[in-house]
Symmetry: D2
Subunit: 432 residues, 4 copies
């Protein structure tokens, strides 16, 4: 990657001043309508005094509830709820996509101006709050009676939640990996979409950098990872490696203590080897990459280093927001999983193990997606594996303290000087 080192260690460029109205990736096929001519007219109307109902387009919005059971001749009341709740989900999906696109836009810059960090944090926090609501929202649907659901379900075939374009876009934009997707009826997930606009949007969402990949690049640029002049040996990783070795040595000595009764010693030594192997799996880049091949891990080795460094020094001013970002990314994963789980439980209550129309059980498919395979930021959940007790953690050198206390941003003319020094001079993390 050609990006200079450090979150924002680039020469000041005009592009680093992000125009908020442009940072967004386009969101979805539906949004295109948005840019059309009719708005000009509305604007004039607004000046003349737009009402609440006009502003929110309630006439249109509230005429989107068309009960198939009513058209079938006998209204099933629960269908109204079924439609409204799904529409509420889709509205919120649109909002999440909107926010995730903004976050992606802010990150899709080799330089991430640190005055933008708050906006990244806020965008993710908002997404977390929305997802919490969406997981709770499922419980409203539990008030449907399975018998009533059976009654109007027949009208829905073959419409299915698998056809939610926005949900698939969202998965892709977050970074669900196509190769980890579980197939439903041996079909590719895109099979249910027909319109070329939809397929194009999906295609685009698969090829554009996902939040996962953008976060990966950003983590790789964590300031302080490398030492001055990019010297590996004075950077965090090298210090961490030494610290781990000291820790493992102590563990070993402790295990081999001749005062232990034999069986205790044997067990402690076995544990020491397991712990040692576990640390090797992250210290040795080859081993890490092997796990990536098996898809047990997805982040690059460099990004893992950055994430670990943030974990250890999260109290440093420059890391406190990055630490929150890591937390929110895990929250997003957790809440999505909870949403999937609540959904599965609901489907089970409503349909039992009834066959789906395609011949296999929707319930079983859905249950299979409540899995680590759909956790985009799985690697972050595992970071604690490689924490070491506080007394082993390398102390920061004064220079490193300075590096981790002074934020870079495009506004500060003098900023480049400071940042230059980061690259050129040094940031050995050991107190010298």
């Amino acid at each position: 990657m050609a990006c200079p080192y450090g979150y924002g260690a680039a020469e000041p460029t005009t592009t680093s001043v992000i125009d908020e109205s442009k940072v967004q990736f386009e969101t979805s096929a539906h949004e295109e309508d948005h840019a059309n001519g009719q708005e000009g007219v509305n604007k004039v109307e607004l000046k003349m005094g737009e009402t609440y109902g006009d502003y929110l387009q309630l006439g249109k919005l509230l005429s989107c509830q068309r009960l198939q059971s009513t058209e079938g001749g006998h209204t099933v009341n629960d269908e109204h709820l079924f439609i409204v709740i799904h529409q509420a989900y889709e509205l919120w999906f649109k909002q999440i996509i909107f926010d995730i696109d903004i976050v992606r836009g802010l990150l899709n810059n080799c330089v991430v101006d640190e005055t933008k960090t708050l906006r990244i944090v806020s965008g993710l926090e908002r997404t977390v709050r929305i997802l919490k609501l969406l997981a709770d929202q499922m419980h409203i649907l539990e008030t449907m009676s399975p018998l009533d659901f059976v009654e109007f379900r027949k009208f829905l075939t073959p419409a299915s939640g698998f056809q939610s374009l926005q949900f698939r876009l969202l998965e892709n934009k977050l970074g669900v990996l196509p190769e980890r997707r579980i197939r439903y009826n041996a079909q590719h997930y895109k099979k249910v979409f027909e319109h070329s606009a939809e397929l194009d949007a999906l295609e685009k969402s698969e090829t554009e950098p996902s939040l996962l990949r953008l976060m990966e690049s950003w983590l790789e640029r964590t300031p302080g990872l490398k030492g001055p002049n990019g010297k590996e040996e004075e950077g965090f990783w090298s210090q961490y490696e030494q610290a781990v070795n000291r820790y493992l040595d102590d563990l070993k000595k402790d295990a081999e203590n001749p005062e232990h009764p034999d069986p205790v010693r044997d067990q402690l030594i076995a544990e020491y080897h397991k712990t040692s192997d576990s640390f090797r799996s992250i210290l040795d880049v080859e081993k890490h990459n092997q796990q990536r091949k098996y898809m047990d891990r997805v982040l690059s080795h460099e990004a893992m280093k950055g994430a670990l460094m943030i974990y250890f020094y999260r109290e440093m001013p420059r890391f406190s927001q990055p630490y929150q970002i890591l937390t929110y990314l895990m929250d997003i994963d957790s809440l999505f999983t909870k949403w999937r789980y609540n959904h599965v439980m609901l489907v089970q209550r409503m349909l039992g193990s009834k066959q789906g129309t395609g011949g296999s059980s929707g319930f079983l498919y859905l249950r299979s997606t409540v899995s680590d395979k759909y956790k985009v930021f799985l690697d972050l959940f595992n970071l604690s594996t490689w924490l070491i007790p506080r007394q082993y953690i390398p102390q920061l050198s004064p220079r490193m303290v300075k590096t981790l206390s002074e934020h870079s941003n495009h506004l500060s003319g003098g900023g480049s000087a400071t940042e230059g020094s980061e690259d050129e001079e040094a940031c050995s993390i050991v107190r010298t």
Copy 2:
């Protein structure tokens, strides 16, 4: 009232078989579109395989988000959230209105078939769950920045939440009393609505029986309130009155106990008088009606009796669902108040005490609506005032036990006989 006594003590009529597709009151001006011709077309399309997106009309739904700030030349991202969350609120308001209308339809019958009770309970429970979600949903809006809100707020003038037709309809359908409404800028709440369809809908919602009034009639018909042949003296109320008197007598004796030191006795006697006054205010129909005149109470005396009887004997099979209904009505009030409160807090955070466009503070108006004046079922919250210790509660006679164990419903041919007996024979609540 021409209705016979007892929840369902009427002769079986064909109208008591409620056709679910007809019970609903019409819901709102928006819904009328619904009945129009276009649906016929859609139906055919469905047969040919409607997709998820078609079914939910997502093309239409997801093109209702039109940012005024974008049209003003500079997108303010938070406006997207502002629109989406208000639209989600309106979708849910539509659902609540739909459910409340069903409940009202089921109640709007002098005979309420008790096989319908579960549906009333379910409709209210669903409303409670939705309101819980809506109160929580407000916290998502807290992620807006006040500065950003200021940015796009200028485009919204004079649009205002006071113009939410559905919210006003909902208030009216529940039973918010026009004379208890607080005026905003000395204006009637209907002043902000212009379209005749809107005004008609509001007019209708004010004149149709509200949930409050329907519940009142239903409570008045509580089985067992009166004795056999409608003899007051053998019914619940007369027994309750005697029990209260016994209880008050004991309180008095206890207070006047000469062993108490003087100041203690004085205090106990003062307390006895207060307690006695409090019970008189419900036992004496004149006093109760006086409080209604001052709007401190709203339910009829007869309805209060019914509610109290349910409170005392909620474990009797025929009262367990009615007890839940009373609980859900209070929950609805509580949650609405919470929603109002969360809304007020949000407005305060976003606007401080900034002036509204009409020259007075929206915040202060909103805060004034977080008040018991907007609690529709306030009387239910106060029921506990008149509970008496268990040892004073009149025991049910075997006949009354029978009355409160056998539900009436239109399906049971033999039902009328049973019910007839209720009216004709007796249901003295004292064990004889």
Copy 3:
């Protein structure tokens, strides 16, 4: 089973008047202290004016927080939270056990007086609310920092949540089956308990009837399952069987329709066979029992019948509370699973895949318990599998309507007569 048929179709006995103070199973080893002598003293003090702090024993309660890290010489603040939250969990576990014991006590009677149903419903509802709180409560622990957790965790070894006596008691009392438990480090779950009082309590909880088993018996007594004089052929099940056959016949005819293109017909026929097999698995008691052998189902065939009957006729007054009970039982399962899941996610965040002290990963063990194996009421979730469209559902005969409208209870002298008629006369569910 010697119990007569129908929820409460027994001769009135004195024991059917349940003394609430006796219905409880004893709750736990801890509770025994409770009955000891010191209380007598307190009682006197109370008379003299007990304060809030005395009543709640706050002096004692708030001196139970002893930080090991403080004793180790350096307080780690997060340990305070760690202790408090676990203590809050244990307090609530005690409450849940208390309520579940009451519900079990009410059910542990061949006669269940239907005036007690509301208490069963309330006990379960309360448990549901508490479990909802406990699942949310886990998120407070997410505010711990993994680094700080590592800091005081060393003091905790070998203390472990696996040693929560109350949690194990609760699992047993609900009905987690010993043979479905997943072993942790190849150890029996009781291995970590040493005190004989604890082992006795566990033993007792395994041998006493669990909520699952009590519910099973109660479902087996569902009124209306059998016809008059216990004639199977006029009862619900026989009617249901005929209805299913009609439904399957129609499905088959529809599938074999020669107008279908060949591949469509083939698929529809395949689906028909699957559906048919699925229904056979419940209609054929042998097949059902085979599934029980493999532990895919746990309820008796008779209990499944009762549950299905409730599902179909939940609007009948006598079934509306039983339907709620079934719903709450599923909620309890769902919420326990959520609690387990939240716990797993937390452990993963705090420890990654670190080794437990016993040499295997606590995380992996915990994750394995987020499984259907720990769902006690799994069979209820699957009930919807066997619902049939409304037009096939057998209509209730007038006699059955009466049966399902009139509750039995010990208070009604005439009750035995009514109930007698249920047994003797008839309750054919078909309208004659």
Copy 4:
């Protein structure tokens, strides 16, 4: 105030290295037991393998539930819940006090090392999560039946929640002002406490600096408030004043526009005057202090300036955490109010308007505390009043950008130099 300007603009001192184990204020009378001798014994036991139950002192904890109704001869089941839920509240109050004491300890330093900011943020976030739980927890108590509550309530007299020492300590530590407290039965809140240890703890909590006062001092030291060499005219406030004037001028011009019809102009001019008055009330220190005298505001003028500056420039790295702190403080107020409100609603449902033992209604007293008088951080809610549109907000000078990007902390030897420059050189907030 003798403290130098800027969050951490002090000479490095040894005391600025906060020893976490010492920062806490002592928490409560109950905690004192804690330090006693018995712990030494336990420590030894621990070494020998403490179990989960020992660690959490479950034997003791779970023997604190003593039902008065049981001792009165007839157990009322709901009393168990009543005790458990109050104990859970008290456990959590202890935790909140613990965290608030830590936050106060961190702030109770004229120098606040900015590497400690994350801990302040975390402590407040945790408190927010706990309070959210506590507000929800109230709904569990709604499952009590009012009749049952009446049954055991008689045993509780005169114990009352007003006697919760921890709740009062918490109010004081947060900063509820004694002069704003509402009297209950014309009594001082301390009247119900008798033990001298309790009175001492209360006394101490009133005299020690509250979170409110510590936050006030901290806000007063907001870096950038003053210009270089402390020159007021180059600092934020002076720039803000000019900006407000420009904004008001434009508003006035706009209002006086002769093209407006007369009534519109009159209204706009009236609005302008109100807006102008509103801004004067914050710009003019005299007016601000007058409002403080009436207790409409509580923060010092200097602190208000700091808070506003943070609001305007929250995206600057050095302000993003302070902004979160302000948000959490408001959340704490909101959630406490919600807790109070939920409590009031519950009391109303359980007791109606029954008399308290002291002769006046507890309900009315409690309702009166759901008021802005008990909002400690009320001033923060009003900050938005003085926001101005983005185009008027003064742009930051490069030097100010630098100031607001570089955190001070005790670890950086060079820190004092940087900070020195802040004081000595300049931080004019206008771009020069």
